[in-house]
């Protein structure tokens, strides 16, 4: 294992350290960073970036200590170095660009004093070979990206300095470029600039802040990168340029100082004017991409900046072992949000509809693991957010590490949820996964987070499971990667004797006699406290002789103790709610996507009591759409006094039978389970 340190304890040095460590990791080395050397004020992106590098280092596993930026050594770093108990076999290297011999011997001495051992000095200064940038902390070596074949439509990444966005024509030009078919436009900007763009009418542009994903992911995605501004904007972007060149991709130097070309780097000297870029790309670059890349690949300058040269001097040989054990590519379903039961259920239905369900696995919150397991799928547990965590995204950091370890290039990730967490977004981008987003519609106004919409670009396809009724579905937009499928719904066979047998079993099992069975499923209680409504229902059914009222909850869910006081009401933890609903004379249910559609598609008479919260789907619209068609009853939260009348109408007034008849005649859309699975398998184009 290689421990990477930097001479100075600063945010800049930290970034360089992470950059270099990740480059080594890409070469296959086990690399670590000392958590004690992390600056206090790291932002969220920096924490995600460094998380995989913070590992326990068993003393016997450490083989190399590499100190970069060793020309500037501060006391804080020396104090930490002194505390490293390095075994005698650990090789110590100090890498830097030393201004003169005194700088070298001075740094060497300081480190030797702190460590009590002599380091080997590695001076990168070479009068003949200019580095891409001056004053860098990281050694800045070309590693290259994955061997992904060039995109059919080249992915163009344009780095724009903040000042260019102040020019009034910049965004209109980019807007026009975004419509050109010869390439797919992406922008790389600062986080602030990204916000700025998002607030304009050009918010549809594909924009990356240069800390939101790793350098590796950027280099893998891009086929062409263009730099504007005065010079190369920092070490990460310089490393991107080097990796692109190394991968025989096109780097265009549009900087005013010819920052790349003047150093001898095999970049194209492109226009400094953004307006000239489209024609330059069209006339010069796109027609010659392969040759430009080939020339970059054979450049002597680039060879001198290849990571192999540094490896040789460090005495490192990339591990050429067998690597991770070979396994079939898998499809990982990641349902999230709240308890996540609805998302998880939907995912299991799609996974079951895949050609090879055995190639599917899940990563799910604890609350969903048993559901997933009950459907026959393995589940990697994810960590739910907690107020006990030191940061609101602490759980997501852990989930990121778990997803990173679980997935590899070639796997698929299917996400079902409303908010695309950093863990999911980064994993998709950094592993180059083929990703799909199952995104149920019927959002309430303003509910969809701008962050999530921005992250839609990470997904190959967005699959929207439709609602049963047309007016609830959004009109198809202009986005080419959004596909609609029929409702994703569980389908149980209807057995004519099934309900009667189930009722008999209930009588025996619960040792009660009843003539009518009512099932209540008001939801998990994440969105709202349903205990008052439950008490109302229990009271109501207590007054009905010969009624069994089952309150269904998912195993492990909390049940309000008040419900146990009623004779006719029983709380039942079950994974098989639909079968009980099929046997019921009446179901009283929230109008969540899954239960709503299961009830409709199985012809079950139901009164919907929509669960409403600002962050949920619009259950009220969904419920009313059914009841207005005579396919159910709907009682809103504000109308609970009407519930008794509605129950009587269903059970005593013949409404249940009428609803059953209506549902039998209703023309509901074809379920979309298989269509969604086929979209994921790439078997159909939607």
């Amino acid at each position: 294992m290689i421990l990477v340190e930097a001479g100075e304890c600063s945010e800049r040095s930290h970034d360089a350290k992470v950059l270099f460590a990740l480059q080594l990791a890409r070469r296959g080395y086990a690399v670590a960073i000392d958590d004690k050397g992390i600056p206090q004020a790291l932002d969220r992106n920096q924490k995600f970036e460094i998380a995989p590098l913070l590992v326990e280092i068993p003393p016997e596993a450490l083989t190399h200590l590499v100190i970069i930026g060793a020309e500037n050594i501060d006391n804080e770093t020396l104090l930490r170095l002194r505390d490293h108990a390095l075994g005698p076999k650990v090789k110590i290297f100090c890498v830097g660009r030393f201004a003169d011999l005194q700088a070298l011997v001075g740094s060497r001495a300081k480190i030797a004093y702190a460590l009590g051992r002599e380091p080997q000095m590695l001076d990168l200064t070479d009068a003949e070979i200019k580095p891409l940038m001056d004053g860098t902390v990281a050694p800045l070596m070309a590693v290259g990206s994955s061997e992904r074949p060039p995109s059919a439509v080249p992915q163009l990444f344009v780095y724009l300095p903040p000042e260019m966005l102040d020019e009034p024509m910049t965004l209109p030009i980019l807007g026009a470029m975004d419509q050109l078919a010869g390439f797919r436009l992406n922008l790389i900007v600062t986080g602030k600039s990204k916000e700025q763009i998002r607030a304009t009418r050009h918010e549809y542009l594909s924009v990356f802040s240069y800390t939101e994903i790793s350098l590796t992911a950027l280099a893998d995605m891009a086929d062409i990168v263009v730099f504007f501004g005065d010079s190369v904007p920092g070490e990460k972007m310089a490393a991107l340029a080097l990796d692109m060149m190394r991968s025989s991709k096109v780097v265009i130097d549009g900087t005013t100082r010819a920052a790349l070309v003047s150093r001898g780097a095999p970049a194209l000297r492109g226009p400094q004017d953004l307006a000239a870029l489209p024609n330059y790309l069209d006339q010069t670059v796109l027609v010659n991409c392969a040759e430009i890349g080939r020339q970059a690949g054979i450049s002597a300058w680039l060879k001198n900046h290849a990571i192999e040269r540094l490896e040789q001097r460090l005495g490192l040989t990339p591990p050429d072992g067998p690597g991770p054990a070979k396994r079939k590519a898998k499809t990982l379903f990641v349902p999230t949000n709240g308890n996540g039961l609805g998302h998880a259920q939907r995912c299991t239905l799609i996974a079951a509809a895949m050609e090879n369900p055995s190639d599917c696995a899940f990563a799910a919150f604890k609350s969903c693991v048993s559901l997933v397991a009950s459907k026959g799928f393995a589940a990697l547990p994810l960590v739910q957010r907690s107020d006990e965590h030191p940061e609101e995204f602490a759980n997501d950091l852990l989930n990121y590490l778990r997803l990173q370890r679980s997935l590899r290039r070639g796997d698929r990730l299917v996400f079902d949820g409303g908010y695309v967490f950093d863990s999911i977004y980064r994993t998709i981008m950094e592993k180059g996964l083929e990703a799909y987003w199952i995104r149920r519609g019927l959002w309430q106004a303003g509910q969809m987070s701008p962050v999530s919409l921005d992250r839609q670009k990470a997904f190959r396809r967005v699959i929207v499971p439709d609602e049963a009724f047309g007016e609830l579905n959004a009109a198809p937009g202009w986005e080419s990667n959004v596909f609609h499928v029929g409702p994703i719904v569980q389908q149980l066979p209807v057995k004519s004797r099934g309900p009667a047998r189930l009722k008999d079993r209930l009588r025996r099992h619960l040792n009660v006699e009843f003539d009518e069975l009512v099932v209540t499923m008001l939801g998990g209680g994440v969105a709202a406290d349903r205990s008052a409504q439950l008490q109302t229902l229990c009271n109501l059914f207590e007054r009905r002789a010969s009624c069994l009222h089952l309150i269904l909850v998912w195993p492990g869910s909390k049940v309000h103790p008040g419900v146990y006081a009623w004779k006719n009401s029983r709380a039942v933890q079950t994974k098989n709610a639909l079968a009980l609903c099929q046997a019921a004379d009446l179901v009283i249910s929230a109008a969540g996507y899954n239960s709503f559609h299961e009830i409709l598609f199985h012809g079950i008479p139901a009164i919907f009591v929509p669960q409403m919260a600002a962050y949920m789907d619009d259950q009220e619209r969904r419920a009313l759409a059914a009841s207005e068609r005579g396919l159910s009853g709907t009682i809103l939260a504000s109308e609970m006094l009407l519930l008794e009348r509605e129950v009587a109408a269903f059970l005593d007034g013949g409404k249940a039978a009428e609803i059953r008849r209506n549902l039998k005649k209703a023309e509901l859309p074809q379920p979309g389970n298989r269509a969604a699975a086929q979209l994921i398998e790439g078997l159909c184009d939607g």
Binding site: L79, R82, Q102, V105, A109, Y113
Partner: protein, 350 residues
């Protein structure tokens, strides 16, 4: 020379430690023997103009003015103390004219393992280019320091410098105190807080164990900042307490440095001997003082201290003998050495 010779000192008077202490002591001797001027160089090694306090006191006592950055310096003998002050400079705009130029090497040219300690060639080169003299001499300050100079010169034959045959040692005129008649296992060490001054933590633990009656570490600033938790160590930052108070707390001075560095002279050891303490150090550092310092490894310290505590008479005998050895580093001895240097014929250009 029939008349009082002139000696010009060329120094950066801002060195905080042993160099300035040594120069201060030396000036008291040389100013009696010659007409002394003190030229200060504001090198790039330090910022500000704060003269080291010990030097400032001596200059005031002797009525000597410091002349800052005079471009031309002329004297019979120009003594340049500690040439490392030039190590960060590419140029030095001085003109030195002298019968002989003596460069006193307060810092070893090589570290253990024969690794260059600073850019020696650059420092000597700057002096060489600035000085017009009949002889240019390097003056080592101890046997160990001499060895690093000779080894460096052997590795760099292009540098044609004479090496003074006798050591230009640090004057150790510390007040002599009687040893404790009933020594206890009270240990201590003092130094500047630099990393080079301290051995590895495991050796510090061997030297200052929790079973000792006292472990006083003066100059342990870095341990105060983030260091290991050692409740049995009494750590004081550099100059936080008076040196006399520190010596009153201990009976044994246990002094080991980083294995990658070595004292060129070891004034702190002489200071402790004069204060009546048994001093224990590594063999290389101890060698400057012959038998006066007990040469040992950290693993042997416990046994040595245990022996002396058990045999107070031996403790006393050792200290008195060691203090007698300090006469070799007296002002008188230095004066004699300087007289020989001044009266040696200087007739061949260097």
């Amino acid at each position: 020379m029939g008349q009082r010779p002139s000696i010009a000192y060329v120094i950066d008077p801002r060195f905080p430690g042993g160099t300035s202490s040594a120069i201060a002591q030396e000036l008291r001797v040389t100013s009696r023997m010659a007409d002394v001027t003190v030229h200060a160089v504001a090198s790039q090694m330090f910022s500000g103009t704060d003269i080291a306090p010990q030097l400032k006191r001596t200059l005031a006592d002797l009525g000597l003015n410091v002349i800052w950055d005079r471009p031309a310096i002329a004297a019979d003998m120009v003594v340049i103390h500690n040439p490392t002050f030039l190590k960060f400079q590419k140029t030095w705009n001085a003109r030195i004219i002298a019968r002989q130029v003596v460069v006193v090497t307060h810092e070893n040219f090589l570290r253990p393992g024969r690794i260059e300690a600073f850019d020696v060639a650059s420092c000597l080169g700057l002096i060489d280019r600035c000085a017009f003299a009949l002889r240019k001499t390097i003056a080592p300050i101890s046997a160990y320091n001499r060895r690093t100079v000779s080894d460096w010169l052997a590795q760099n034959p292009v540098c044609q410098w004479n090496v003074l045959a006798r050591d230009w040692f640090n004057i150790c005129d510390f007040p002599i105190l009687a040893p404790n008649r009933s020594p206890r296992d009270r240990r201590g060490r003092h130094s500047r807080p630099g990393f080079e001054k301290f051995p590895a933590l495991e050796d510090m633990d061997r030297c200052f164990p929790d079973h000792a009656a006292r472990n006083v570490i003066l100059g342990g600033d870095t341990y105060l900042e983030t260091g290991p938790q050692r409740p049995h160590w009494e750590i004081h930052s550099f100059r936080a307490i008076e040196i006399a108070d520190y010596f009153a707390m201990i009976d044994f001075m246990v002094y080991f440095t980083a294995p990658t560095w070595r004292e060129s002279f070891g004034r702190v050891l002489a200071e402790a001997i004069a204060a009546g303490k048994v001093v224990i150090s590594d063999a290389g550092t101890a060698s400057a003082f012959g038998q006066a310092v007990v040469a040992a490894k950290p693993s042997e310290v416990d046994a040595i201290i245990g022996h002396f505590v058990a045999h107070p008479a031996e403790y006393r005998r050792h200290v008195l003998k060691a203090q007698a050895r300090l006469a070799d580093f007296s002002a008188q001895a230095f004066g004699k050495m300087l007289q020989e240097v001044l009266s040696a014929p200087v007739g061949v250009a260097a």
